[in-house]
């Protein structure tokens, strides 16, 4: 019998932040923990920025093997290198952990290193030092083909050391069954039963305006005459500058009565928001993958996304929804109209969705990937 495989999973945040990368970390950690239940494997999870308390009572994995360093970077690096040296496999959940991986590889060349590549953090021009450090990775695993194409250009990586592991649906997402507060929520936002409601969920930031909501507003101008009941709900926290920019745009376009901002919405109400809407639209430019698309589809919403980034994977090249050029307002307009005229035809295929992005499917692909490195 062989010794149990030791896996070290290094992260920046698992619980302390709410973005897509943290979602991936939680789900990947759960997938790894579940392998220890059935296989000869030991897993340790280290988080640089989280506090130990943030992991308490989490649903994803027991915390006996969760080490939180509470922003103590040096201590994290020292411990991670020490532990990594004794591990068979180290997973770096973010490119910013490359230095740790590089140090581990220097000390223990037989330890395999896998890097998770998400989106914008790998698309940007990398420093020379970092480019040199990519060599420590035995494998880079990207969340979409879009990101993988960038990764494959990295020195000493190429196609042979790159693969795609799409993100997946959180297994703790509640199912859409009875008891959905659809009517109340519509009333709360001032929408009627006959209104056709488009929905976007994203952070609204003046510094990273690439989510395409401004283009959707422009597309609405023409649609409004044909579909007077067309409404748009934009949810997510926003900065004042962006809100002002959008308010001005809405006033200029004469959409004041058709657009509502929900601000930050807690996770518990996500299911109600998705259930209340008729269509999810976000012709974004810079999605690594776009977990929000698969979440919207999980709740049965037709989806419109951009065709220039990782969204293409989330929509299965258009098999699950409509892909549009995010810079082409007319294309966005046409796509919205397509859904409005025949919504049923654009409801995503649930079995294809689960087969592609269910947690089970993720676990199977993740296992294959780890075992192949």
């Amino acid at each position: 019998m062989t010794k149990p495989k030791k896996v070290l999973f290094l992260t920046l945040y698992v619980f302390g932040a709410t973005g897509g990368i943290e979602k991936v970390c939680r789900v990947a950690a759960k997938a790894l923990f579940e392998r220890t239940l059935d296989e000869r494997m030991k897993v340790k999870l280290m988080s640089m920025h989280d506090s130990q308390e943030q992991g308490d009572s989490n649903r994803y994995f027991p915390t006996e093997s969760f080490f939180a360093f509470n922003k103590k970077k040096l201590s994290f690096i020292a411990q991670a290198v020490r532990e990594g040296r004794r591990s068979d496999l180290v997973i770096l959940s973010h490119i910013n952990l490359l230095l740790v991986g590089w140090l581990i590889k220097k000390i223990s060349p037989k330890t395999k290193i896998i890097l998770f590549a998400h989106g914008i953090e790998v698309w940007i021009e990398q420093s020379r030092r970092r480019k040199m450090m990519f060599g420590c990775c035995d494998h880079i695993c990207s969340v979409s083909h879009f990101t993988a194409r960038v990764v494959e250009e990295f020195p000493r990586i190429g196609k042979s050391r790159s693969s795609v592991l799409n993100n997946c649906l959180d297994p703790f997402l509640p199912q859409k069954t009875r008891g959905i507060q659809k009517e109340q929520l519509r009333k709360f936002y001032g929408f009627s039963d006959t209104d056709q409601v488009m929905f976007t969920l994203t952070r609204l930031s003046s510094r990273e305006r690439y989510k395409g909501y401004d283009k959707v507003l422009e597309a609405m101008v023409n649609l409004k005459s044909k579909y007077p009941n067309l409404m748009y709900l934009v949810a997510g926290s926003y900065d004042e500058k962006e809100k002002k920019f959008l308010d001005d745009q809405i006033a200029r376009l004469g959409l004041t009565n058709n657009v509502k901002f929900a601000g930050f919405i807690p996770d518990e109400t996500l299911i109600d928001h998705f259930s209340m809407a008729d269509l999810y639209v976000m012709p974004s430019m810079k999605e690594g993958f776009g977990i929000v698309f698969i979440e919207a589809m999980f709740y049965g919403l037709p989806v419109i996304a951009g065709n220039r980034d990782g969204s293409v994977d989330a929509l299965k090249n258009g098999d699950l929804g409509l892909l549009v050029d995010p810079l082409d307002v007319h294309a966005i307009e046409r796509a919205i109209e397509k859904v409005l005229t025949n919504r049923e035809a654009h409801i995503p295929n649930r079995s294809l969705l689960m087969e592609s992005f269910g947690f089970d499917a993720y676990k199977r692909k993740f296992k294959l990937l780890l075992d192949s490195v």
């Binding site: 019998m1 010794k3 149990p4 759960k30 923990f33 579940e34 220890t36 239940l37 059935d38 000869r40 494997m41 030991k42 897993v43 340790k44 130990q52 308390e53 308490d56 009572s57 649903r59 994995f61 027991p62 915390t63 006996e64 093997s65 969760f66 080490f67 297994p171 703790f172 509640p174 199912q175 069954t177 009875r178 008891g179 947690f359 089970d360 676990k363 199977r364």
Partner: protein
């Protein structure tokens, strides 16, 4: 409960024999669900405790889509039923079984973490063609399964699998039994048959024949609660609430009274809610040294309820020994007392009995809580020297060898192991190297060093000793008499709260389980907690010595076993060690 998914439809016949092999645990009813198109059979033997009518017949169906075969009890089912009722679900009976089905219909797999209780079930979604095997987060009810190229089979007892494969391939379980005194999860006596890990579900898609094991709930330690007064109040209220819930049944319920702290608390609380009906049960011995009768009497006076005391004597012990061995689902060095008291409960008309199991693990009742620090130090500093322990003749020195095994695994065997590897090798006629290899490789446990040392001891006792020895013995020995042993101290709310108390408060004070004592000081007689610790002391040592059954079994035994018998007769071997050898001999594994 049993079930088979297979290409081979003649399995339907074997499922009847699988099911019948467990008839003892479900004497009240029998049922099958058979779907030839889906190549699926589910079977159940029912022990009815809630809604005793035929309405509770299993496998049960809901909305003509969901089917279930289920063992156990859900203790928060009334709240869930109310919540589901508000969502528009209609119920046709009063069972908790139907609530599980409706909960699944509403929340799908997220329903599993809402169930609080002791349960193991198989749920079939006939529309999605998905079969789920589910086991409670504390691992109170067992569930075993086997996955291979011909399909999936499962059962709540290992013995059921012997009806599927005539000559099951063997696992080296004898080594585990001699080291641990039981067979630790995930090892079983049949290769390919695994226990479902607690708090997990196995999803099996019958069309693609794909499986996926997922965790839906787990227990971890944290230090959220630090204020002693609040903690004492909360400990008492959370345990009181749990005891109240555990008394829910439409059949008579009793309480096991050992004379110790945990069962005393459970009985005292239960008497508040069940004065009219409460039955208490206890075993005592003529041999005054072992007898807890004095303490049992004391509690009984305070309880003022119907008490059934049962005098266990040597003759009855020895007469029943062969039956007890037969009752064991997998070999175990313990469980004898549970066998007798469960039989006694059943003879007195009780179908469910409350036990204080879990108190020691959650609140620090074992010596391991104070020994963990030393054990860890020894393991860290001198693991290599420990191998010399072999040459010593002292029990503890011999067991020190186990500290060479890395992690909590080595600590457990050092603190709780029965035989040392050289002794195991000698008895089983193996190379010592092989024994080391088997024991150090499996099971694989996580590294738990991050948590407080006393919580490490708690983790070890909860996940190893309690899981593999106490809970298994309680389930098997209870079910063999058709008695459900309920464990209110292992209710989810109690475990979660106990695991969130800062160790500085949880383990403070002179007495073991001081926090429990302080939390219930108002109702506990002082003599119960302020007394010499008895541990598991039974007169079994003396009784086994004079057992003619044992004598006969060991006639013609080989020299190694003979010497062990001799040692035992001279009190150089503990009865639980000797019992292990007797079981191995009885199973034909020792010459």
């Amino acid at each position: 409960m049993v079930g088979v998914f297979s290409e081979n439809l003649e399995r339907e016949i074997c499922i009847k024999s699988m099911c019948n092999s467990m008839a003892h645990g479900g004497p009240d009813d029998e049922g099958f669900f058979y779907s030839p198109d889906d190549r699926l059979v589910l079977g159940n033997r029912r022990l009815s405790l809630v809604d005793l009518s035929k309405n509770g017949h299993m496998p049960m169906t809901f909305e003509s889509r969901y089917y279930i075969t289920y063992n156990g009890e859900i203790f928060n089912y009334l709240e869930l039923k109310m919540e589901l009722g508000k969502l528009g679900y209609n119920f046709s009976n009063h069972t908790d079984t139907e609530v599980i089905l409706a909960a699944y219909a509403q929340w799908k797999t997220l329903a599993f973490s809402k169930l609080k209780g002791m349960f193991a079930f198989a749920l079939w979604d006939s529309m999605e063609k998905e079969l789920y095997l589910v086991r409670d987060p504390a691992g109170i009810k067992p569930l075993y399964y086997s996955l291979n190229s011909s399909g999936l089979s499962f059962a709540s007892e290992i013995r059921a699998f012997t009806h599927i494969s005539r000559k099951p391939p063997r696992e080296p379980w004898e080594v585990y039994l001699m080291a641990y005194g039981h067979i630790p999860e995930p090892v079983t006596t049949i290769a390919g048959v695994k226990p479902l890990p607690k708090g997990c579900f196995l999803k099996y898609e019958t069309v693609s024949e794909r499986d996926s094991l997922q965790s839906f709930s787990h227990y971890s330690y944290n230090e959220t609660y630090k204020e002693p007064l609040d903690i004492r109040n909360r400990v008492s209220s959370v345990i009181e609430d749990s005891v109240k819930r555990h008394l829910v049944a439409d059949a008579p319920v009793g309480v096991f009274l050992s004379g110790g702290l945990d069962s005393g608390i459970v009985a005292l609380l239960a008497s508040r809610f069940e004065q009219a009906q409460l039955n208490t049960l206890s075993v005592y011995f003529k041999e005054a040294y072992y007898s807890e009768k004095k303490y049992q009497d004391l509690l009984q006076q305070k309880l003022n309820c119907k008490h059934h005391q049962f005098l266990l004597e040597e003759g009855e012990f020895n007469d029943n020994l062969p039956h007890i061995f037969k009752a064991m689902d997998m070999p175990s060095c313990d469980g004898i007392n549970t066998w007798f008291i469960s039989r006694h409960a059943r003879m007195n008309g009780m179908k469910a009995v409350l036990s204080g199991l879990g108190g020691d693990e959650l609140f620090g009742g074992y010596p391991s809580f104070s020994r963990m620090r030393i054990a860890r130090n020894l393991q860290d500093r001198g693991a290599n020297f420990m191998r010399f322990g072999k040459w010593g003749n002292h029990k503890v020195l011999k067991r020190m060898q186990y500290l060479q095994i890395e992690g909590i695994h080595g600590i457990y065997l050092f603190l709780r192991g029965l035989f040392s590897p050289d002794d195991i090798a000698k008895h089983l006629d193996m190379e010592e190297r092989q024994v080391w290899e088997i024991l150090s490789q499996s099971p694989v446990y996580p590294n738990i060093r991050r948590i407080h040392k006393k919580n490490q001891a708690g983790w070890m006792e909860f996940n190893m000793y309690m899981q593999n020895q106490l809970l298994r013995d309680a389930d098997v020995m209870g079910m063999i008499h058709g008695v459900e042993i309920r464990v209110p101290l292992l209710y989810e709310d109690v475990i979660r709260y106990a695991n969130s108390i800062a160790p500085s408060v949880k383990f403070q004070g002179k007495l073991p389980k001081q926090l429990l004592v302080d939390s219930f000081s108002g109702i506990l007689p002082r003599e119960i907690y302020d007394r010499p610790k008895m541990g598991f002391s039974f007169p079994f040592q003396e009784w086994l010595k004079s057992s003619s059954y044992v004598k006969e079994l060991l006639v013609d035994s080989g020299p190694v076993l003979k010497k062990s018998y001799h040692d035992f007769l001279k009190n150089k071997m503990h009865w639980s060690q000797f019992m292990t050898l007797v079981i191995l001999r009885q199973k034909g594994s020792l010459s």
